[in-house]
Symmetry: D3
Subunit: 248 residues, 6 copies
């Protein structure tokens, strides 16, 4: 099986970190290719940035030359997730959605713990868009600054553990989701320090992508996830224009 991990951010180090976590949990026979946005933002954190990063992600998908069995949209918040599902014939999973669905099997209510207050509203809208607002215990932000997106784990682990512990003890969270691509790989390290299960979003998404690939669901022929009707476009990159034009 061949999976694509698509980082819609421009930070290569994040891509490497996520690919490494994904490969660590994937089946031995699963090959995971990881690509990084060639342009855009170092780290998507707002709705505006998600729109821009999402559009770039669609261009990246249009540019693919090799086929994949499934795609991981590797940014927590899942930019352009449903858009990608329209355009592709293979399953697409998002870090946030995969984490939320996994959490539902481990407890009644989950909290998302993250590293920047900027991300909280976007993540909250993401939970609501999944129809899961009723199972969100809280959204907690670690109380500590970080100097660089790639140093989040190095600098903030203690603060994240503290926030997760408060979510479990005070907010009624029965599961913790570590939200944000920079936290990939942290869950296993902090699990022994927390009183409830903790989910790594890249691990969850990788397994969900493998699962959907194995189920080999057919591309919808009707409904909102069928291939959009082809349309002429103006001024878009050639591959994307071709995909939207019915060339996909």
């Amino acid at each position: 099986m061949r999976l694509l991990l698509l980082n819609p951010n421009t930070t290569e180090a994040l891509t490497e970190r996520m690919a490494s976590v994904a490969r660590g949990i994937a089946a031995e026979t699963t090959v995971i290719d990881a690509i990084t946005a060639p342009r855009g933002l170092p780290y998507i954190a707002t709705r505006a940035e998600a729109v821009i990063g999402g559009a770039i992600a669609l261009e990246m998908l249009a540019d693919l030359s090799a086929p994949y069995d499934a795609v991981i949209m590797a940014a927590f918040g899942d930019p352009a997730l449903n858009a990608a599902r329209e355009l592709l014939s293979v399953p697409v999973v998002g870090l946030a959605e995969a984490s939320i669905l996994t959490a539902c099997m481990l407890g009644r209510r989950f909290s998302i713990v993250t590293f920047s207050a900027n991300l909280a509203p976007w993540f909250e809208e993401c939970v609501a868009a999944n129809g899961m607002g009723g199972r969100l215990a809280s959204l907690r932000v670690a109380r500590q600054a970080f100097s660089d997106i790639d140093l989040v784990q190095a600098e903030m682990t203690a603060a994240l553990v503290e926030a997760a512990t408060l979510a479990a003890r005070e907010d009624g969270a029965e599961v913790i989701i570590l939200g944000g691509a920079p936290l990939a790989g942290l869950a296993r390290r902090v699990a022994p320090l927390l009183p409830v299960p903790v989910i790594d979003s890249v691990e969850a998404a990788t397994r969900m992508a493998e699962t959907l690939a194995l189920l080999k669901p057919r591309k919808a022929e009707i409904g909102s996830f069928r291939l959009p009707d082809g349309k002429p476009t103006v001024g878009l990159p050639a591959a994307l224009a071709s995909l939207l034009g019915g060339g996909g």
Copy 2:
């Protein structure tokens, strides 16, 4: 007062039609500038197209040289509406949101009547995202094809009236919203044919834009609609890069 009507689609004729309707209801002292997407799709109809058109709309906003008192995101479905609200200091309204809110003052439940089945899921998600799912009586699509996006009104008026009448008589709609930019200007013509009030989305949005401009709400300093922190970007158009970089 100076309003911007931004059409994220590339169809100039639609822009003209909407601008004309907007100018027809705006105060005499209101100046309305209308701009058309320089690239993208002739008519956004799916989630993927909304992501692409939304990103282009943000570029168009970054490119503005003159200040406006408010902006109308002139596509029903409201691509990048909240994203634009983050980036701008003046109010931004969307056709769908403005119509939905207006409908709430004229009846308990409303139906959206539109001209293409492709649009229905996107519009339905738009209602839900506004937290208004409980007041949606139905989403009805006129049963007739159209040959060109600019001929929708010419070819489909009877079918739209029929769908709206069914929405009122069978689905319990107490208000009708004509959904989709190509329907701008149609409401006043068909109002006498319908048993309940009918809303023109461009009229509603124009008035809402004027209203917000008059209220002169301050730009949020905190919360998810404050200006995002400036960030370095890679490979984005210069004006957009400047806006995201804190130059806005």
Copy 3:
């Protein structure tokens, strides 16, 4: 255009205050007549008082001799708002509903800040009845007493600003609504002191009334907002009896 601002309370000073705010934001060509309840309560604050004041408001509407293009039910909490919509052929707006809908265009979640704990449950039911409970961040009451309903602004401005600030900083409100007719006109004065936009309910309602009047929606012929069937009544004031009897 001719609007009626109907105060279902007996306090003339409140009517004057509201009419002044309404005239301040209305178009120059809009004439606003303001009337005060001839009997009833100085200030509606509970469900029982709203029923009584609402019935009196309907009598006042039945007594009108001149036609209006729209009516403002000028008590936050919107007593008899939908009842008035049944009986009249022109649009009717309420202070609370207009504020809530306006707030939805300026942020995801709003708080209502008011001056008396007595009002809170009524306002909360009003938000829920509009189907907007999911977007209410909080309902905050200023912590300070007032000596007279007409002195609320004079005595409580600092306390109201404090409550609004807490709503924004602690409850996640992205917009503030100042709830209650006695607060009319306060929003513009306190806006510079608050970190998020603030809405004046009379300003919002005035603009919504003008908008609906301009849209000239037809009176519903079917559904729950059509004119009720005429009925004989017993012992009601003549004008109201006539209106209910099919004389309207």
Copy 4:
């Protein structure tokens, strides 16, 4: 025990019918006094009529000379129910609320079957206001006209049975509520003809009133159901003025 059955309509025959049904199910030791609105409408059927009838009901409550252990607001739709709860120190129940709560113990979803399409929107809002929208299977109106409110049962029984049967067989109703005071006493007659349990709203309300009277709940000292603060009023009937003025 002494109960008051208060009919906010002016139709004496309805009062008699309801009182008879109430006495049929009440304990032998329960005395039921029944009063009819001295002015107002023969039969409340719209929101406007409910506001007027509700205000008259409050006047009737203010006029009471004898104490009661509980009050039945005897109009389906429950006009002024929560308003009455504020003003009185004893429990108050409504026909619709009592029926809905009773239905919840007999099935997952209930339908309300009634005799006039005019009533449907009001009843639906009543279910929603009780937070029970999720358990409403449908609201069905019997397809047949009636010549006089007092002849509803005589003329419409077959049509009501047909509507109730369709509600059970096609809408998934597991319980039927016969909605509307004119249907009092009908449930026991039609029960053998229906495939699911059927509730008489006056029977349900009478038993709920007795139950609350036996529980002897204390009048709330805090919260929205405590006695409102006394206020001066203008031009209200003396007894009501006294009740609102703190004389109650």
Copy 5:
């Protein structure tokens, strides 16, 4: 009338306590038989225990030799309540459901106050399963340990009153439900100490059982509460096998 109070726990003292409270509020002509689970748990407190106790309760119902007019499933949390409704032809009520429905007639929002944190999640799921999550103000646990399930009242009354008072004063509860069979009989004693009404779950359930018995609802012939189709079983107690086999 003859009611059965079925305690699915093995603690006889609890059965006695509940039977005594039930007999105190029931009509003089009502006979109440009380039975205790012959095996199982002393006090159900978790989902696993509710499954086990629920299955035992069904066996107890299958073993009944005398007919009853209604059954009280006498454990707060209502194990196997809907299951029992399927199998029996007479009404069945549960302590939690009856309390919740009663509370709805006394205030907008209620709190459940209980004696063990273990019970809270189960009770919360019970409220949600009744579709009443929107009216739950809070679930409060008294802060004090107890030495024996039969001594809960003796040891914890002050702590329960404190928790109930906080629920009313800080959480907005307008009614208090004392949750848990061991609290039967406590409400009347503490009512004078609380600022809002308080409900005894056994009193509420007893009255609801009598009410449903008087309404004599017919057993559903269709829908999910009709008698299940008879089936062969393996290794179940003879009476239960007979009931499930169509012998009931």
Copy 6:
């Protein structure tokens, strides 16, 4: 990895069918043991049967001698799923929950298609209990009888395909779940006949069980899924008594 597939029904043929499907999708290194209820019902179809089967399932779990990495509760409807999660230290998944969560990644709304009208209410409550009611497009029952639970696929495939097609074409389902253990293995055969993706509940559950086992979530130490406090019991099977008594 070692998984347990626990069939709470007594029909061995169903166990074999499910085990075969599970082994077909599991990793080569995953061992799947399958056990059948030694007593109970041939096929759980109602709430009462789910309580009985659920209690038997807990006894079966208490009787296990070997450790497993995860458990599949192999009945659609998920009897005792959360109860089992309390008692075990390893993950437990249910057929319905796993299917629902998988469906959420393949479309906005899903329909459950099943073979007996008896199952529909139970399945609908199961969707609601997962908080997913908003994403259920419909619950469709194939219109054809079956002669034996083990012949459901042989006799009903065409009818199930027809129901699934209607769900997609008329109800708006974007994904189909084949609900019910007897349908295990059918999805792959009918997938080419359907216009949208279709999910096999045993395949979905098997993959979810493997995923959770790989994530190795720690057993909750706090919250409602921690091990219940040990308690003395009366008359329960020894192993279950030991598990509940703190011996687990």
